[in-house]
């Protein structure tokens, strides 16, 4: 747990350093940085005011300290007539729009999470089922065909699949016109309906990947001694496969799934872009494009936290699945 916190801190420090130091090597001054956050009309007073208000006039270590302190203790900012309280965890305000970053990320997590969770259900089920059948029917037409499609699925970028789906179902036949995110709590039906295409295009890539992984894992497991033992006991083949082989074959899948899912929560950037969903990934892209450090930092830290959390869950799951891990 401590290690996780340190990891997230290191990630934030590195992001912070890269943001400031790399342009500095290129000769960018903090005034120039501030100029980017003033609109088209960059008069010196505006630049100075912005620079001071964003704290860009402080030494770097102090800026970083303020950033970390704000996360733990909250902070006060003044972007209006009165000072505004930024409650912890305060990831600061967008340099560009002066909008608080954390509520933004918080609002976007459900979008990305909805994307990820639905796609994950589809890709795990379809990937594992196809992979298992492929492994059991190794060398048959089904195996060759599904692995061929899987190869295509792995090779085809999400934006391509997404654009094809949109082209067919949104523009040509307008089955889904104007795909957009609806929150689950307000309208679960609309939520699911609008997520179908993104889910499919996201899941297509991953289920292809998982089908191949599952197939390889199953082939390996089916050659294990304990599978022979299970058969020697006279177990029906479906028990041998479903109980003995699948459980062992799925263990590495769980690990990879944890990583993949954690990464996705950090932003399904391309999918969000193709379907114009305002998720965490889209926010990160905006932050990077606008040189908006607090956004970049905030998303990075939240994403890192998710990945760390997912790995923690994977470790726990792993222990639940594999008793050898539990007892060692």
């Amino acid at each position: 747990m401590i290690a996780a916190i340190i990891l997230v801190l290191v990630v934030s420090a590195v992001t912070f350093a890269i943001f400031f130091l790399v342009p500095k090597i290129g000769g960018q001054s903090t005034t120039q940085l501030a100029t980017q956050y003033v609109g088209k009309d960059a008069n010196p007073e505006s630049i100075a005011a912005v620079k001071k208000n964003l704290g860009l006039d402080l030494p770097l270590y102090e800026q970083y300290w303020h950033f970390i302190k704000a996360i733990v203790m909250g902070a006060n900012y003044k972007f209006g007539p009165d000072a505004a309280q930024c409650h912890r965890p305060c990831f600061g305000y967008s340099f560009k729009s002066h909008v608080e970053v954390w509520p933004q990320i918080k609002d976007r997590i459900p979008v990305t999470f909805s994307l990820a969770i639905g796609a994950a259900v589809i890709w795990v089920i379809s990937g594992v089922v196809i992979g298992v059948i492929s492994a059991l029917k190794r060398g048959t037409i089904f195996d060759r065909l599904s692995m061929g499609v899987a190869l295509a699925g792995v090779s085809l970028p999400i934006f391509f699949t997404g654009m094809v789906l949109l082209g067919l179902f949104s523009y040509k036949w307008t089955v889904w016109d104007n795909v957009q995110y609806h929150s689950f709590t307000s309208d679960p039906g609309q939520w699911a309906w609008n997520l179908v295409l993104p889910w499919i295009s996201l899941a297509f890539l991953y289920s292809a990947l998982y089908a191949r992984l599952t197939r390889a894992g199953m082939l390996e497991t089916m050659g294990e001694d304990y599978i022979r033992t299970a058969r020697a006991k006279g177990l029906p083949e479906r028990v041998v496969v479903g109980k003995h082989a699948l459980r062992a074959a799925l263990t590495p899948i769980v690990t990879i799934f944890g990583m993949d899912f954690g990464l996705l929560i950090g932003g399904a950037i391309i999918t969000e872009r193709v379907f114009s969903f305002q998720g965490v990934g889209a926010y990160a892209v905006q932050g990077v494009r606008d040189n908006d450090l607090p956004i970049v930092l905030g998303v990075t830290m939240v994403a890192a936290t998710f990945i760390v959390l997912c790995n923690l869950v994977v470790d726990l799951l792993y222990a639940a699945i594999d008793p050898r891990v539990r007892y060692s």
Partner: protein, 591 residues
């Protein structure tokens, strides 16, 4: 092994075919612009019809206008925006003192009263401007609108860069004492800036430090939309904007979009400008540009709110026979030009600059950015839709294709008969600008001028590179690609920020050619003091010519945008006042 590869290839081919068919969209039903729409439609149809008339005219109330934008606005807060489309769009929920007439063609450049009862009453020296607003105006919460709120709105938008830094600061520049006032967030004096007087709730008087005859144009800025001080919390105001127009925010999600619904407190009787036909407006940000195009073609979306036209991919499609009649190729009110910096050798010699002027084949530049659809060859800085445009060509060449002989001649005169080497900058993430730069580079090479292109990201172009004179000098950036659109559609609104000596800034300036010619500076200030509109208009053309004569700018292209209007969009017309996009006060939807 082979069969496996074959399977994969087959799958790929199938996917490709699907994709291709999705793109070709060859459905049989005719979506051309010749179907009668609902309501009382007029005859105006066809290619470019919305440039001069209102297409699909209708007086039917109701419907939802769906807008999409490939980016996020700088802010929807009328006091914190510089974006042209937000100026256009914000008029739905933020009424200003004056505005541009929602009308087709040249009429759209006419300034008309909005909150005010008439245009500004100027003093003889054009330094004092008085406006009276209508009585009985109310916000969406039912509280009355007063001129104090307009004063406050101008204070917060011009004098509080620590919170609201996006918008222009013309009021700050022209108001008396504008350089000293610290803004309403720091200066807690309840009277605010002294040079804006509000003797009563319906009168507002501006006292300027210097004569400014274009003030009525400033009064069209969204910054003059009233903001009640009690509801203002600076940067956070955008989340709960108080409406003075026919629509109010039903929802707003930062960076994602907003929904506008009718504001029951608004009364048509008290608003001479707006028809307010649609029931709702839905606007989405950060929609992929190609997706927007496809949604437009499919009729899912009413308009691309950015108003900069379709993407190059879609352009090829909509210029085909099927869609052509639903397109409008409008002047964007902007000129793409190349600045020549006389502080970088050998451009200190005007003959060397002239050599560049003559050498460039502007037709090749036009071709490079996508042909006449994307713009016309420019010979002046002012584009044709800006008030004051005068046609001239100071460096004429045959068919605008460049004149090697004249260029060589100039080179000889400047002492570089065999040419020279020079750096040229462009914005790396603007494909059209990079294409322009390459075309210009080719032209220059013909006469022996070797230009090497340096590209910089658009976000830092002015703050760190081309807009920083010290950087320009140090790195010998002699030629700089840029483009400019008017802040308001007059010669002054266009030229002031790019040719006046005061526009040279240590960082973030737009006067890239570092032009600081006393004659030009004086001509500008003289003209803007002149209350005679006709004389003023003529002066802009003259100043434009003076600038071009210095051979520090090479006008390249009057930019055009290829707009697409879906069948279900009604009352569609291009407004010249807002960079050639559709007029969002008029635009309605039959859907």
């Amino acid at each position: 092994m082979n069969s496996r590869k074959a399977t994969a290839a087959l799958a790929l081919a199938m996917a490709m075919a699907l994709g291709a068919s999705a793109c070709s969209s060859d459905s049989k039903d005719d979506k051309g612009g010749n179907k009668p729409s609902s309501g009382s439609s007029k005859a105006a149809k066809g290619t470019d019809a919305a440039l001069t008339s209102i297409v699909n005219a209708s007086d039917k109330k109701g419907g939802t206008v769906v807008m999409e934008n490939s980016d996020v606005p700088d802010s929807l807060d009328p006091g914190n925006t510089y974006y042209g489309w937000v100026q256009n769009f914000s008029r739905l929920y933020a009424r200003t003192l004056l505005t541009f007439k929602p009308a087709a063609g040249k009429d759209g450049l006419t300034v008309v009263p909005d909150l005010a009862t008439g245009l500004g009453k100027a003093s003889a020296d054009a330094k004092t401007w008085t406006y009276t607003i209508r009585s009985g105006l109310k916000y969406d919460d039912g509280t009355p609108i007063t001129t104090k709120d307009i004063k406050y709105a101008i204070e917060r938008s011009n004098f509080a860069p620590e919170a609201l830094s996006n918008g222009p600061t013309y009021f700050k520049s022209y108001l008396e004492g504008g350089d000293k006032y610290q803004g309403p967030y720091k200066d807690k004096n309840p009277n605010g800036i002294a040079s804006i007087e509000t003797p009563n709730d319906t009168t507002i008087v501006f006292h300027l430090a210097k004569p400014f005859a274009d003030f009525d144009y400033l009064a069209t800025f969204s910054q003059t939309a009233p903001v009640p001080q009690a509801k203002d919390d600076g940067a956070g105001y955008v989340k709960h904007i108080v409406s003075s127009g026919p629509y109010k925010f039903a929802s707003y999600t930062e960076g994602a979009g907003a929904t506008l619904v009718r504001n029951p407190q608004w009364s048509k009787a008290n608003d001479p400008v707006r028809t307010a036909l649609p029931d709702r407006y839905q606007i989405k940000f950060k929609v992929d540009a190609v997706t927007i195009d496809n949604n437009l073609l499919a009729g899912n979306t009413t308009v691309d709110s950015g108003g900069t036209g379709v993407t190059p991919q879609t352009q090829a499609k909509v210029t085909g026979p099927k869609y052509k009649s639903s397109t409008d190729d409008s002047y964007a009110g902007a000129t793409a030009y190349m600045a020549i910096n006389p502080k970088v050798k050998p451009f200190d010699n005007i003959e060397c600059r002239k050599a560049v002027e003559y050498a460039i084949d502007k037709v090749s530049v036009q071709t490079a950015i996508g042909g006449s659809v994307k713009g016309d060859v420019a010979t002046t800085l002012l584009p044709p839709t800006v008030n004051g445009y005068a046609k001239f060509d100071e460096f004429p060449t045959e068919g605008n294709k460049g004149d090697k002989a004249k260029a060589k001649d100039a080179l000889t005169k400047c002492g570089h008969p065999n040419g020279f080497s020079v750096n040229m900058t462009a914005r790396s993430d603007r494909p059209a600008e990079m294409a322009q730069a390459t075309a210009v580079q080719n032209s220059l090479k013909q006469v022996g001028i070797n230009a090497s292109i340096k590209s910089y990201p658009a976000g830092k172009y002015f703050s760190n590179f081309a807009g920083v004179p010290s950087y320009v000098h140090e790195h010998q950036l002699g030629l700089m690609m840029t483009a400019w659109g008017a802040d308001w559609p007059t010669g002054y609104g266009f030229l002031d920020q790019i040719v006046d000596g005061s526009a040279i800034k240590p960082s973030g300036g737009n006067n890239l050619q570092e032009l600081n010619d006393p004659a030009i500076n004086k001509a500008l200030s003289d003209a803007i003091s002149n209350t005679d509109a006709a004389a003023r208009t003529k002066a802009w053309g003259d100043i434009d010519k003076m600038v071009v004569d210095t051979a520090t700018v090479v006008p390249l292209i009057y930019r055009k945008n290829l707009l697409y209007r879906p069948d279900n969009a009604t009352n569609v017309t291009v407004t010249q006042a807002y960079l050639g996009m559709y007029d969002y006060l008029l635009l309605s939807s039959s859907k």
